[in-house]
Structure formats: structure tokens, C-alpha cells
């Protein structure tokens, strides 16, 4: 089946991007860059995984429900990231450039 092959490829690539985001969560140096890594998992991995699942349905109500979950996640995850970044900013978390400058003036 061609559809199943495409679905397999989408699922594997999606899982790869999810793992990339998780690895970036550990690798990146400060809070704001880590949000970028997390947004890789939240956006592209979710899109690819759900597209892969949609190709496995019979294109009935199940596929419609998958589209709904995908749209919900795509609408809400940037809002959550924005709220998180905004409250971190207001809570005084410095960006990488700012903390570097501080180190330079201190030392």
C-alpha cells in the first residue's frame, strides 16, 4: 500500500523531530533558546505525526477528529509558549545576549 508507506515515513520523520526537540531541551544554553527547541516538538512533530495517523484511517469521522485535535494543538501550543515566554520575561529571566553583557561588565 502506497498510503501506508507514506504514513510510515511521516510517522518516522515526526518521531525524529520530536526527539530532536527533546535533545535540544537539554543542549541549548538558556531558557528562551530552550523554548525554541520545545516548539520544534510542539509544531512540526505534531503536524507530521497526525498527518501520518490520518493516512491510516478510512477518511471518515476518525480522520475529522484527528484534524480537530491537530487544529486544537496548533492553536493552543503557540499561545502557551507565548504566555510562558512573556511571564518569564516579566519575571526577570535574561536572554543569552543580556546575560553575556552582564558578565562582561561585571568582569
Amino acid at each position: 500500500m502506497i498510503l501506508e508507506t507514506i504514513s510510515n515515513i511521516l510517522l518516522i520523520v515526526g518521531a525524529f523531530f520530536a526527539l530532536t526537540g527533546a535533545y535540544g531541551l537539554f543542549k541549548f544554553p538558556d531558557f528562551f533558546t530552550r523554548v525554541h527547541a520545545a516548539s520544534v516538538t510542539d509544531s512540526i512533530a505534531t503536524i507530521l505525526l497526525f498527518l501520518g495517523l490520518i493516512l491510516r484511517t478510512d477518511f471518515d469521522l476518525v480522520a475529522v477528529k484527528l484534524v480537530f485535535v491537530l487544529v486544537f494543538v496548533l492553536l493552543t501550543s503557540p499561545t502557551a509558549s507565548h504566555a510562558l515566554a512573556k511571564s518569564a520575561r516579566h519575571g526577570g529571566v535574561a536572554t543569552l545576549a543580556e546575560s553575556n553583557n552582564k558578565d562582561n561588565t561585571d568582569g
Binding site: Y23, F32, T33, H36, H82
Partner: protein, 164 residues
């Protein structure tokens, strides 16, 4: 209540009813009754909110929104590959940048969509928004320059409609 608000509420009722039917998939009288009750409740709340803030908003379900969504998914794919390369590359120093982008070209009701699109694209993150500017944090200076070129802003302003 004039005809404009009535047709506005009718469009919402129809959208919500279709949404309920797609989610449930059952046509028993009891469940249809629950659906009717929920739709009417939501439309009642919507009408109260609209008369409070005077900014009625249609559901964005037309062809232009769909085309914009597809374009956005393409952008997300491109920038995800970029960020993935940054994650897996060894000893490459990150140079994150922060910039303020003007919001004056974007109509009021599309600013949230603009900020959300910026955040949804990996590599750029909107961290603050006020009347004039949106503050953007990016993993690379390049991404900020792309946003400043205004491709996404133009698409939002023209494709999604809403006069400026």
C-alpha cells in the same frame, strides 16, 4: 438587533452545529438535544460578549484562511529543518537575537494571528506584544531579518482580509 448581527449569529450557529455533529457522529434524539442546548448556550454567550466588546469576529473558515494555513505549514517545515540542524550540529555557537517589530500595518483583529504564527514557526518566538510593537526572540539573526522583510505580515494583511 439588526440583520447584520442576526446573520453573524446564524453563521456561528451553523458552524457550531456542524462541529457538534462531526465530533459526536450520533443522531439519537437525546444527543441531538444536548447538542442543540450547547450550541444555543454558546451563541447566547457569544452575543453577550459581542455586545460588550463591540468586536464581532467571524469564524475564519474560508479558502484564503486555508491557503494561509498551508503556506504556514510549509514555513514551519522549512524553519524546523533549520532549527533541527542547529540542534544536532556540534560546537556551533548560538547567536540568539531580540528585536521589536512594528505592528502598525496589521489590522487589530489579526494581530493575535500574527503573533501566533511567529510563535508557531520554530526559531522565532514572540515574547511581548503591545499596541505598537511585538517583541520577537529568534535563534538566529537571519530569522528576524526574514520577518522584517514582511512576508508573513503582508500575507496576514492581504490574504486573511480585514481592512487595515
Amino acid at each position: 438587533m439588526n440583520t447584520k448581527t442576526l446573520s453573524h449569529l446564524a453563521i456561528w450557529t451553523l458552524t457550531l452545529a456542524v462541529f457538534w455533529l462531526l465530533l459526536s457522529g450520533f443522531f439519537k434524539p437525546l444527543l441531538l438535544g444536548f447538542g442543540l442546548f450547547s450550541v444555543l448556550l454558546v451563541v447566547f454567550l457569544l452575543q453577550r460578549m459581542d455586545s460588550f466588546d463591540q468586536q464581532p469576529e467571524q469564524p475564519a473558515l474560508g479558502i484564503p484562511s486555508l491557503r494561509y494555513a498551508i503556506w504556514l505549514v510549509g514555513q514551519v517545515l522549512l524553519s524546523s529543518v533549520k532549527v533541527a540542524k542547529l540542534v544536532w550540529s556540534r560546537n556551533k555557537a548560538l547567536s540568539p537575537a531580540v528585536a521589536k517589530l512594528p505592528l502598525t500595518d496589521i489590522p487589530d483583529n489579526n494581530r493575535v494571528r500574527y503573533a501566533n504564527s511567529i510563535t508557531l514557526t520554530p526559531g522565532t518566538l514572540s515574547i511581548d506584544i503591545d499596541d505598537q510593537h511585538v517583541t520577537v526572540h529568534a535563534l538566529e539573526q537571519e530569522s528576524i531579518e526574514e520577518l522584517q522583510a514582511g512576508d508573513m505580515a503582508n500575507k496576514i494583511a492581504t490574504v486573511l482580509g480585514g481592512k487595515s
